[in-house]
Symmetry: C2
Subunit: 249 residues, 2 copies
DNA sequence: CCAAAAGTGTTTGCAGTACACCCATGT
DNA sequence: ACATGGGTGTACTGCAAACACTTTTGG
């Protein structure tokens, strides 16, 4: 019944546009700019951090902003994100993931700019920042405030995404040294998720997943009984991954 | 140690741009256009469907495409999505959710267009299509192929998102009549997720969630024992919702 | 009475959670 | 010796999964 209406046998009209009219529309009158903003998370001293810089705009110099720039006409969107990260920080070989696109008309004071947000997680000790323009540095997650424009909203969205993703994928290991203790791992999860967990259950969970390689080494220079060190077994994970729930990969 | 490098006490340089230089950059030379594409899912005859039209472009008239258009300079991104859906289909009062932004340089033959994908789920019987231009109609999910441009990839991404979201949120009830049987509900989930489930466990699951209102009515005109009819209790869900895993809201 | 789908319970195993004590190391 | 955190096991509970028979209706 319903289908007959939808798949009507009457010849429906087709409105077609010529190629050039579309091209005109695209090239002529569309003063919308596109940017990428990167939310780069890091981890150090048991705290989750995020990379911020001072705003490019003189008027907003006292505000912090995410790492962003306009997209070039001839680069892929994803490439733009990597370029911008590289330009702003010197960072390379970092995995970026797209999160959301923010497009309110008045979101940016300099004009109509729609921005695509990306996030990443990096190991602060492995990735030295090569560029320190605009006071680029790591801010504790807990203390960030007074971000310019809608960057607080963008940050919040990316942080929520991170919290969800880290429970479904083994992202967190990027933030740790290659050899880490279970305490390191738990501190990381607690910092990202924002709550404490039971130590025994946490260990049981990760051991039962069976993606940790026991290195038969122990921590050095700790003022207490040293813990054993582990590596994450990416190869094994890639073979086994399926569906999960909670920390369950 | 690391921190000392990052938070160097040397006065770091700040590169500032004037407001007008940014405005120039935005308005002048940026021939990137922005569009929205909508993936509208519907459900009828126990099959999941998607709305497609013939391509606007003469060259691609034999290919199906998603519902899309360029964003206007003075409208919010989300508003553009609703406008486009309304223009193409006459549909109103439909919830759209942003999924992902696609921005490869050569993704569209008419020029540099970056597109933001949205999806929705609607009840085919509740929403009559008021516009049938470009052979707009519902296609079975299983049979779609030969989509124009990168629309197959966009569709796939949205479909995966749908499958994930429907397990975490009570989206599915939008696709059903106000009064539905548990068989209807199970058919819906099986159509979306693509596999069969055990009837007893399915019922147990939904009854234990306790979000179904028993209407004390039964199906009419079925050639077998009629099932009881239910409504979804949105109010109760809104109060109780927390975190879940699998179908677990 | 036949076909078709509705409706219903139990068992089993696994996973999450709560919880307390001893051990190894450095100071 | 003491302080600090590492390492371990058990019992309980709730959810998921597997599984078969009886009931109700229309034809």
């Amino acid at each position: 019944m319903q289908q007959q209406i939808i798949f009507s046998t009457d010849k429906p009209s087709i409105k077609v546009k010529s190629f050039s009219s579309i091209q005109n529309e695209i090239q002529s009158g569309n003063p919308i700019a596109l940017s990428v903003d990167c939310v780069i998370f890091g981890f150090d001293e048991n705290k989750l951090k995020v990379l911020l810089i001072r705003s490019d705009l003189k008027k907003y110099q006292d505000k912090w902003t995410l790492l962003g720039d306009l997209i070039a006409p001839n680069e892929d969107l994803d490439d733009a994100a990597y370029r911008i990260l590289k330009q702003r920080t010197g960072l390379n070989n970092v995995y970026l993931e797209q999160v959301h696109t923010f497009g309110k008309v008045k979101r940016h004071p300099a004009g109509r700019v729609i921005t695509v947000a990306y996030y990443s997680l990096i190991n602060i000790k492995h990735h030295k920042l090569n560029i320190l323009d605009n006071e680029l540095h790591w801010h504790d997650i807990e203390n960030i405030s007074e971000l310019a424009f809608d960057h607080q909203e963008i940050f919040n969205t990316c942080y929520e995404r991170l919290q969800k993703r880290v429970q479904e994928h083994p992202l967190g290991f990027n933030l740790l040294p290659k050899k880490f203790s279970l305490r390191d791992l738990q501190n990381l999860y607690e910092a990202i998720l924002g709550f404490k967990m039971d130590r025994r259950n946490f260990r049981k969970k990760f051991f039962s997943m069976d993606f940790l390689i026991d290195l038969d080494e122990i921590e050095q220079n700790v003022p207490h009984r040293p813990g054993k060190l582990y590596q994450f077994n990416y190869a094994k994970y890639e073979k086994k991954k399926k569906k999960w729930a909670g920390i369950d990969f």
